[in-house]
């Protein structure tokens, strides 16, 4: 190995590395062959139905171990790999993309733990013969942003409690709207250490979900993202060994902020995919549909709309690629790039999907076409991993942050 191998190469976020280009092509093939034929059925199925076969096929394509280091059987493709894969899947079905994205979220605290024992126990699960899902359990009935914003922590109410008991903790309480909770092997669960007001003692635990006392609650009946299941998780004196704590007692919010900063680039990618999926349908329609003797795209107003839509999709993609590359090359994961990418891409998804539906006219409004699903799903990403209001706070905090080094 030459000396130059010990030096870092400058990052060019405009050029996807060869392994990422290969991944994009491989995932696109998976989407065309396995996801698209199932999109309508999975969208219209009862809320509690889940397509394990699709997850198995995704597992074969490596989608559950994209970010897992190679030494644990993963692909080691980082946040960039996850983001690119999720854009491709979301261009057909955002709900399917989130099954894999939520698993990354569940894996993230284990990755961030710097604890080889915890990593050796949980990361190889994703490289076995059978697909394994993970989940991230933070949201509660009375606490959403209060568990994400440090200044809010003291105001949080009814947070899942953790009581120290010898070499372990006992967790009690209820989490809500947890993607993959119904099916995950383990969860990254955030609970407040007993005696600390609000969520000021928030702590991250890795909890096997077959532990006695864990109950998987009813599945939420959602407007979109129906391919993935969001449900409650109930904990009744669930014993968790102390070695399953990530980052020590009371540092859960710090771990969660790191996790979010990693994940926001990937959610921006999902929104980019939703926008692209809607745009592609509109583009095809505007070539096929003839009015006034010419295809719609030759009408100036329509051409302007198409040009603006594709520009927005391109810009959203560049922003998530930059954010993902930043998350792959900086620790702590940067707050600014992922938050700006997500804020922008989430808005682009809504604007492009609405415009695309408008261009398709009545056909865009019919359930038999995929457009209405893109419109429904375009609103989803504004809710999870940071609302526009939360993102605005994160962005402005980064704008005015002072470098203390």
């Amino acid at each position: 190995m030459s000396d130059t191998a010990f030096h870092s190469a400058p990052v060019d976020f405009l050029a996807e590395p060869p392994q990422i280009q290969e991944l994009r092509a491989r995932v696109r093939e998976f989407v065309d062959k396995d996801v698209r034929p199932r999109v309508a059925d999975n969208d219209r199925a009862p809320a509690e139905e889940f397509d394990w076969e699709l997850v198995r096929l995704g597992h074969e394509a490596g989608l559950l171990r994209l970010v897992v280091p190679k030494e644990y059987g993963g692909l080691g493709l980082g946040v960039l790999g996850v983001a690119v894969a999720l854009e491709e899947i979301a261009a057909a079905c955002a709900g399917t993309a989130l099954i894999f994205g939520a698993t990354l979220l569940g894996q993230a605290p284990v990755l961030l733990s710097s604890d080889p024992r915890l990593q050796a126990r949980f990361l190889p699960l994703f490289s076995g013969d059978n697909p394994v899902l993970a989940c991230n359990a933070i949201t509660e009935d009375q606490a959403g942003c209060d568990l994400l914003i440090p200044q809010n922590a003291e105001h949080a109410t009814d947070v899942v409690q953790a009581r120290r008991d010898g070499d372990s903790y006992l967790l009690t309480g209820r989490k809500r709207f947890i993607t993959n909770a119904r099916l995950a092997e383990f969860g990254s669960v955030y609970a407040n250490i007993e005696g600390h007001p609000g969520a000021t003692g928030l702590t991250a635990f890795i909890v096997p979900l077959d532990s006695p006392g864990v109950t998987r609650g009813p599945v939420a009946d959602k407007l979109g993202y129906r391919a993935c299941l969001g449900s409650e998780l109930l904990f009744d004196n669930v014993r968790v060994p102390a070695e399953n704590v990530v980052g020590g007692e009371g540092n859960g919010m710090l771990i969660n902020i790191q996790q979010m900063n990693m994940a926001r680039a990937t959610v921006a990618a999902i929104s980019t995919g939703v926008a692209r999926g809607a745009f592609d349908l509109a583009k095809d329609w505007c070539a096929e549909r003839v009015q006034g003797g010419v295809p719609l795209h030759q009408h100036q107003f329509t051409a302007r709309k198409l040009a603006e839509m594709t520009s927005k999709v391109e810009a959203a993609r560049l922003m998530y690629l930059k954010a993902a590359q930043a998350a792959d090359t900086e620790i702590p994961a940067p707050a600014y790039e992922p938050a700006t990418a997500k804020l922008f891409a989430d808005q682009v998804a809504i604007e492009v999907a609405q415009e695309a539906m408008s261009l398709m006219g009545a056909r865009g409004y019919l359930r038999e076409n995929a457009m209405e699903k893109f419109v429904r799903e375009s609103f989803g990403a504004r809710i999870y991993e940071g609302t526009p209001e939360v993102l605005a706070l994160a962005i402005t905090e980064a704008l005015y942050a002072e470098d203390d080094f």
Partner: protein
């Protein structure tokens, strides 16, 4: 009041720490296999080391290292003593790392011998442990 009274003392102690690490064949072999080099930058007082599998050099590397770690010398002291947990140090920005996160994730567990050795080294030099 900083833990280290002078830059010279901090440079000597952290050079010694990484020199001990490099005596571990497993550590250097993994560094070579993964193409890992380390540029350690500490402030208050200043320390700058460039660590490759072949040795510890004082000062900046000739070209950007694979991993660049920046922190204060007080933070480094707390970290190696085990009083400051690595995930917390990273999450709070007390330790900042640039480079491939995949390489960092691979590298951090290899540092365990340094955590084991540092309290002895620090105590021998009269630092608070």
């Amino acid at each position: 009041m900083p833990v280290f009274e002078s830059s010279d003392k901090a440079v000597r102690i952290f050079s010694e720490l990484f020199t001990i690490l490099l005596k571990d064949e497993t550590f250097t072999q993994r560094m070579r296999e993964s193409g890992i080099s380390l540029h350690l930058i500490q402030v208050k007082p200043d320390v700058e080391l460039f660590v490759t599998p072949d040795g510890v050099n004082v000062g900046a590397p000739p070209a950007p290292a694979a991993i660049r770690i920046k922190m204060s010398s007080d933070t480094a002291h707390s970290l190696w003593l085990g009083k400051l947990l690595m995930p917390v140090a990273l999450a709070t920005g007390k330790v900042r790392i640039k480079g491939s996160v995949a390489k960092v994730l691979e590298f951090v567990p290899l540092l365990q011998p340094a955590f084991d050795q540092y309290p002895t080294i620090a105590a021998e030099d009269g630092l608070p442990v």
